[in-house]
Symmetry: C2
Subunit: 501 residues, 2 copies
């Protein structure tokens, strides 16, 4: 058994090596690659993907997993060997279910789709995307049909990113959340908009970048095991526990954008850098799900980074660094400005409250597409109608409408959006649990000390990597199953005070 386990680890580590290599190629593609490298690079990445897929579906690996299955199931929950065998089996089965031909077809198609989308978005040209998106939908449905045991065609996709959730459970959670969020957003919309003009004006972009870099270090991001670079669409990526990189976008016309992007990605990175070294290079060696991952980026960005204690400490420093903009602005006015709630068209610029409404629009539409109740031809109108209904604004064109997010144009349709809102909900549940366990956390944050919070997160979330399934991890860390109450309490308390509701 010991020998078989060693062999399993060796095989899984090899798959991880190939996938980590692909991640390096993708990082380079988004940071330093010259334009001329694009075509060949897509091929390199795709070949590595195929190699990893073949390794994962190999029958030798399958037999090894079969031999170990009984042993794995005999181990107590939380045992890393048991988790490893379980996750390896899941990934092997998933790989064997989907024919290589379909994997290759999807890969080839979405690569073309992405290139066309970058032009189509710039030109507000949904018409060109329509047949491509119809093909994506068809391929996605074929992919989904490989997993016959699910109730809904979106389920296998959700399972891929947020293990344990289903279309039904996401819908139920979103319905509950919606019932609370819509009235809250309406109440806020009736209050005057806080002024945020002090964030715009003449400030040094380099200074903001530098502050973001320093802040990442103060939060606990280890630069000896990572680095920060510039890109268009910020992301975090992990090649190993010793090399977890973050990217941020250059500052634009608004102070805070680059800063908060850096803090957000630092949150993702703290999670990856905090996984138990014993799990490195194995499928358990990274964050466990899209939702839990996003909970960490949002926790650090919003619950910490847009919180009052954080700025009690940081604001004087920010004023010193940006005297022209902030010299005459009170902490209170600044705090209002960075927490301005506004019904808007673009998800990535949205505030903490309306953000979830953007996510729900996408989740509902993709679910309908997968069911076959919404055609691609009707998608732009359906999008605009939902925005008018849910957010009170109607996109003037598809650039800020159905073409705005890359997700449907570079992947299968479905599975990716629910994680953002799951992350928001989890972030508050984790933060509340941390504060219960260490009531000094807010005061320490107000002194610029993030260690008590980071320690709690490391102990209860980060170190476990993928050992527990995401919903089990939530229960284990917070003492209760995933629920919306801590999130709503957080929002009501923070924004109730801000908007005097």
């Amino acid at each position: 058994m010991k020998q078989a386990l060693l062999e399993l680890r060796a095989r899984l580590r090899e798959i991880n090596d190939v996938e980590s290599a692909a991640a390096v190629l993708e990082w380079d593609q988004s940071t330093y690659m010259p334009a001329g490298g694009a075509e060949a690079r897509a091929r390199h990445i795709s070949t590595l993907g195929r190699v990893a897929h073949d390794m994962r579906r190999s029958s030798a690996l399958g037999e090894l997993i079969d031999r170990l299955r009984g042993h794995g199931e005999s181990l107590p929950p939380g045992n890393p060997d048991g988790a490893l065998i379980r996750v390896a089996r899941r990934e092997h089965e998933r790989a064997t279910r989907v024919p290589s031909e379909l994997v290759a077809a999807i890969k080839g198609h979405v690569a073309e789709c992405f290139v066309t989308w970058t032009r189509a978005r710039a030109n507000d040209d949904f018409k060109t995307m329509r047949p491509l998106l119809e093909k994506t939908l068809e391929l996605t449905r074929r992919y989904s049909a490989c997993f016959t045991e699910h109730d809904h065609p979106a389920d296998p996709l959700i399972d891929l990113y947020d293990r344990g959730m289903t279309t039904e459970s996401v819908r139920a959670l979103f319905a509950e959340l919606r019932k609370e969020l819509v009235p809250l957003a309406s109440a806020i919309a009736e209050r005057p908009l806080p002024d945020d003009s002090m964030l715009r004006g003449d400030f040094s972009r380099d200074d903001e970048m530098e502050l973001g870099r320093e802040m990442a270090g103060r939060l606990g991001y280890d630069f000896a095991r990572g680095r920060l670079d510039l890109t268009h669409h910020p992301f975090m990526t992990r090649f190993s526990r010793g090399d977890v990189r973050i990217t941020t976008r250059p500052s634009k016309d608004k102070l805070g954008e680059a800063f908060f992007a850096t803090v957000h990605e630092s949150g993702h990175a703290l999670y990856e850098q905090g996984v138990d070294p014993e799990l490195d290079g194995l499928p358990l060696g990274g964050g466990v799900s899209a939702g839990v991952h996003e909970s960490q980026s949002r926790l650090w960005e919003n619950l910490v980074g847009r919180g009052r204690p954080f700025w009690q400490h940081m604001y004087p420093e920010l004023q010193r660094r940006f005297p022209a903009l902030l010299g005459g602005c009170s902490l209170d006015d600044f705090y209002h400005a960075i927490n301005r709630v506004e019904r808007s068209l673009v998800r990535v610029d949205a505030d903490e409250i309306t953000y979830n409404l953007h996510v729900m629009v996408r989740f509902d539409l993709e679910t309908q597409m997968l069911e076959g109740t919404l055609s691609i031809a009707d998608l732009p109108d359906a999008w605009n109608d939902r925005y008018e209904q849910d957010l009170g604004v109607r996109p003037p064109d598809d650039r800020v409408g159905v073409l705005q997010d890359v997700h449907w144009y570079v992947e299968k349709i479905g599975g990716l959006f629910q994680g953002y809102t799951l992350g928001n909900v989890m972030s508050a549940q984790f933060f509340a649990a941390a504060n219960r366990a260490r009531p000094d956390i807010p005061d320490r944050i107000a002194e610029g000390d993030f260690k008590p919070l980071r320690d709690w997160l490391t102990e209860n979330i980060y170190r476990h990597g993928g050992v527990y399934d995401p919903l089990d991890l939530v229960t284990r860390a917070t003492g209760s199953p995933l629920r919306i109450e801590p999130y709503m309490e957080y929002l009501r308390s923070k924004f109730g005070e801000l908007y005097r509701i």
Copy 2:
């Protein structure tokens, strides 16, 4: 046959994809990777190497090549399909000859060796390296023994990097060269050393880097298909024809070091960027051998970049950029300074003439080691004796002696050094042929116009990639087989004038 050729190309392209991915990982390792990433990165690269090796030795590929062999041999020389089948067969056979177990043993051993060497060199500690180097020698001899048809154990290694050359032919060429170089170096040693103090002093390192970057562009290096970064030991690397990167070392205390390093690597890159796009992603899609490659870096660095016409144009600009150092220095004195010949201990800092003597020491010693006539225990003394005899200087310690070059400590012993001097010899033969075909080349260089030279090199060397074997390429491009006369004429004319000999 057409179908089989298509399949061959697809398979070879896939191997190239994996190897290109490994090259990206190595580039990142030498430029941006944080220290924490080192351990896992070594594993990622090694796994990709194993995957590529397995692809290359696959029996399906072997059968395909067998089916195509007759067709390939029926094609005229210079036909890309014929060349492709020939090179693919050679690489496949090489891969099948060497047991995977030996490949893995060498890989693992040299990785350990390299790490130990970096410390051993710093500490002048050959003793620690001795058992490791003995193991390297043993593994190299086992590798070499896989190729029984060769006359000398160094032959399979030379064949790997400089196809067509053997220990015997390199020895003959070096003996001939030595007979000319040693008296020339002695004659120069009797003349007064030119002053190069104007290259040392207070100058902006950033300005020198910037000039190197601009110069690369003026020589014809296409930044839309490449980039320049900093590293410790400059190198050029190719991921595809559209992504050929160069690196340079930061300027140190001597003006010119970073500049010439950049020009050197630009020479390598011009070659790679100039290969026929049809060959991209195939084993013919890069430079054909170590010698021909080095001929291009040396041609641009020395025959162009350290030549008088080049500085006729560039020197006033250099003076403007570095007025404190060069404001009062004549072109003539500057030209002498950058061509100062001096018997020294360190190969990479050596001048154009003595450089080859450094190479010959290494080539002879490694050949003796492979023959079994020189033991590792006796290597440091043998090294020092040869330096005293050939260069008139004796290393005071092993740091500037036998431990100075990385080559024996990060690869098998043998095969790598002869290429440097072959490159020097070829560089002059190519340059002379270019000047015969386009007699205006020196005048155009003196106007800062490198196009005529670059065009000739592209037409006669670059575009062919690996279609012709290296020695055929030399004959084809220059009208005569490889010979030392053009090189000796170049050196005698240039240094005869400089040193009034």
